[in-house]
Amino acid sequence: MDFVSNLSMGFSIAFTPINLVVVTVGVVVGTLIGALPGIGPVAGLSILIPLAFGMDPTSAMILMSGVYYGCMYGGTITSVLMNVPGESSSIMTCLDGNAMARNGRAGPALTIAAVGSFIAGTFSVVMLTLLAPPIAEYALKFGPPEYFALMLLGLSAISGLTGESRAKGYAMGFIGLAIATIGLDPIDGTQRFTYGNLELMDGIGFLPIAVGMFGLGAVLGMIEAPVEIQIMKTTLREMIITKKDLKDSAMPIVRGSLIGFVTGVLPGAGATISTFLAYAAEKQLSKTPELFGTGMIEGVAGPEAANNASTGGAMIPLLTLGIPGSGTTAVMLGVLTLFNLQPGPLLFSKNPDFVWGLIASMYIGNVMLLVLNIAFVPAFVAVLRVPYRVLAPLIAIFCLVGVYSVNYSVLDLWLMVGFGVVGYVAVKMSYPLAPLVLGLVLGGYMEVSLRQSLKMSQADLSIFFTRPIAAAIMAVVIAIVLWPVLNRFVFKRGMKGLQT
C-alpha cells in the first residue's frame, strides 16, 4: 500500500495554506480562461508562467495544473450559454449544450457537465495515482536510446497527427528543434549560432517564445475579430437536475471518462480529440441518434467527462517519462525546466514531495471545481461581460510585465513581441504551434540522448533498432511518419484493385 502513504504525504503538502490558496487561484483562473473565447489552456498557462516562476516548484505546478483542468470545466459555460466554444475541447458541447439552453435547460446542462467533469477528472487522477509509480519504476530501466525514441515519438505524433497539414506540423517541429540548438552545446559547450552575443549563449528562452506565441498571439486573434457576447440568463435555482437526467448521463460519463483518459495518455491526441470521440460514441450507442443536436444531455455529459479525464491522462507521460503529448503539457515541461526539475522516472524517487503534493492537489482542485461550477456560474458569467477592449490590452500588458519579471531582459520582451507576430501569422496559415514548443522544450534533451546513444554504439544507428524497447517505439515512430505514404499508395491502390 505504498500509494496510500505517498498520497497522505501528498495531501499534507497540498493542504498547507499557501498551496490551498494556489490551487483555488489556479482553478478559478482556469475556469475563467476556459470560459473566455479565444484564450485556451495553452495561452492561459503561458501567460501565468511568470507568476508561477515566483513560487516554489510544487506550488507553481499546482497552479499550472489547476489552470489546466480548470479550463476544461470553464469551456462549458461559454459553449452552453453563448454557443461559442470557450476553447477547442468544448466545441462538441456547443451542439447539445446550447440546444439544451435554448430549450430552457441551461442549468441542467451546466450541472451535468460539472458533475461529469468532476467524476471523470477524479477518475483520471485516481488512475494517475495508481499507474504513474509503476510506469516510472519501469522507465528507470530506460537508457539514452529509449529516451531518444520516446521523445521522437512525442514530437512526431504531435507534428504528424494533429493539425491540417503534416508537412506544416513537421516544419514547426524542426523549427522548434533548431531554436533549441542556439546557445551552448549541451555536451561539449561549443557556442552555436550565438554570433558572439552574450545573451544568446544561454539560448533563446522558452518563456518569451511561449508567452509570445500563445499569450500575445491569442490577444492579437481576440482583437482582430472580436466575438460578440450574448449570454443567456440562468439562475441558481435552475441548476437542479432531475433523476432522469442523472440516469441518462451515468453511462456517457463512464464512457467519456475512459475515452478521455486513454486519449490523454496517447501522445498527439489530447482533450479536443477525446471530445469528438466521446460525442461520436454516444451518438453511435444512442437509440435516438437523430435527436443529437437538439439538446440531448448525453451529448453534453460524454464529451465534458472526456475532456476532463484527458487531463489526468496527459499528466502520466509528462510526470513519469518527461514526454509531453500536447502543447499544454509541453508548456508545463518548460516550466519545470525553468525550475531545473527534470521530469521523468527519477522525479518520483528524487522529488516525491513534489509529485505527490501535485497529485493530491488535483483531487482537491476537482472538488473545488465541482462546487464553483455549480454555485458560482453567475459570477463567471459576469467576468465574461468584461469587453475585449479592456481585456485584450490587460492580457498584453500582463504578458509584457510577466516576461520582464523573470530575466529583467528587454531583449526577451522583443522576442516575445516577435514570436507573438509569428504565432498569430502561423495560426492564420494553419501552421500548428504545439510542435514548435515541443521541439523547443525537448530539443536539448533529445540532442543529449541522441549523442549519448551514438557514443554508446560508436556512431552506429542500429542501437535504436536492436534494443527491444527502443525498437518497438521506433517502429511506432516510423509508422506515424510513413502512414500518409502507406495510406496513399498501398491501401488506396489495394482498394482500387478490389473494386475493378
Binding site: 515566483g54 497539414s165 508537412a167 475579430a225 510585465v401 540532442e447
Partner: protein, 154 residues
C-alpha cells in the same frame, strides 16, 4: 499558386539553408561520434526537405486541399497594428519612463484605440491595471521593475 503558402514554404527552405551553412562551422563528428554540428545538420536537411514540399504545395495549390487563409478585415489589421505598435513603443520607453508610467500610458492608448470613449473608463482602467500589476509583481513577487523618471519617488 497561393502566394502566402509558397512564401512560407520558401521561408522554411531559407531557414534550413541558413542553418546548414551555420552548422558547417561545427564539427559533424568529434572523435568518431556525433559532435556539435551533427543535430543542426540534420535539422537543416529536414527543414529544406519539408520546405520544398510546402513550396511545391503552395505553387500547385490545387493539388492540396487548403482552406483560404482568413486574413483580417481592414479594421482587424488596424487593431492588430495598434496593439503591436503600442507594445513596441512601450518596450522602447520602458526603462526610461519606468514601469508605472509605461503601463498606464499603454493601457490608456490601447483602450482608447479599441474604441472606448468614456472618460471614467479611460482614466480608471489604466490606473487600476498599473497598480494591480505593481502589487502582484513588485510587492508580492518582489521584482525590481524599472522605475525610470519616477525613481526620485524613492
Amino acid at each position: 499558386m497561393n502566394k502566402a503558402e509558397t512564401f512560407a514554404g520558401a521561408l522554411v527552405v531559407a531557414i534550413g539553408v541558413a542553418i546548414l551553412f551555420g552548422s558547417m562551422k561545427f564539427p559533424y563528428l568529434l572523435d568518431g561520434v556525433p559532435g556539435p554540428g551533427f543535430l543542426p545538420r540534420w535539422i537543416a536537411i529536414g527543414l529544406i526537405g519539408i520546405g520544398l514540399v510546402l513550396t511545391a504545395q503552395g505553387i500547385r495549390a490545387r493539388l492540396v486541399q487548403q482552406g483560404a487563409i482568413p486574413w483580417p478585415s481592414a479594421g482587424g489589421w488596424a487593431r492588430v497594428g495598434l496593439m503591436l505598435g503600442a507594445l513596441a513603443v512601450s518596450l522602447v520607453l520602458l526603462e526610461w519612463l519606468g514601469f508605472l508610467l509605461t503601463t498606464t500610458l499603454f493601457m490608456a492608448v490601447v483602450v482608447f484605440g479599441l474604441g472606448v470613449r468614456s472618460w471614467r473608463m479611460l482614466v480608471s482602467i489604466p490606473l487600476l491595471a498599473a497598480i494591480g500589476l505593481y502589487v502582484v509583481f513588485a510587492v508580492w513577487l518582489r521584482v525590481p521593475l524599472p522605475k525610470g523618471i519616477l525613481s526620485f519617488l524613492e
